[in-house]
Symmetry: C2
Subunit: 101 residues, 2 copies
């Protein structure tokens, strides 16, 4: 079962984004399309099984699609990816890489 069962949009979104690798995949896609295998490589060689599952989630949400150039963010997805710029800024400001747990 999925971790959440609510029908509220935010819960559906958090459910997908909260799965391992989902945020990272969106992050990698922020600068243009990737092939399946290129995505794997940029995501630390995550398994094709998991990658395919996450691509399915993201497609179902309309965040990405698959064109001839490869997997890429849709217009909706790009909007969402903008949020990740804020995450990056926050991270650069607030996280000390040397204090890694």
């Amino acid at each position: 079962m999925s971790s959440q069962k609510s029908n509220r949009p935010i819960m559906i979104l958090l459910d997908s984004l909260g799965k391992r690798w989902t945020l990272r995949i969106m992050w990698e896609l922020r600068n243009g399309p990737f092939t399946f295998r290129a995505l794997q490589e940029s995501c630390d060689m995550l398994s094709p099984t998991t990658l395919n599952a996450r691509l399915g989630d993201l497609k179902a949400l309309g965040i990405i699609d698959h064109q001839s150039a490869g997997y890429q963010l849709t217009a909706k997805g790009l909007e969402l990816a903008k949020v990740m710029i804020s995450l990056t800024e926050w991270a650069n400001r607030e996280i000390n890489p040397r204090a890694r747990s």
Copy 2:
């Protein structure tokens, strides 16, 4: 091993946020402090094992702390939680609850 091994701040952040329940926990904390058990309940009774692990991650990142009133977002955490407002707006605009996968 953690899913990512980079020392870049954004990777450290995505690594934590990408673990199951982390985003949801932050979401629940957006409106004030919760006790451990209240958090469990609001997060669909997730297991104390996992909750404790996530609270540890979030504490290590300085996103939450534990005062007498319970677990709550820090000033840094509140900043980050603001990003989630954007997520909510996006979700309400773009996700159709009836088209659940």
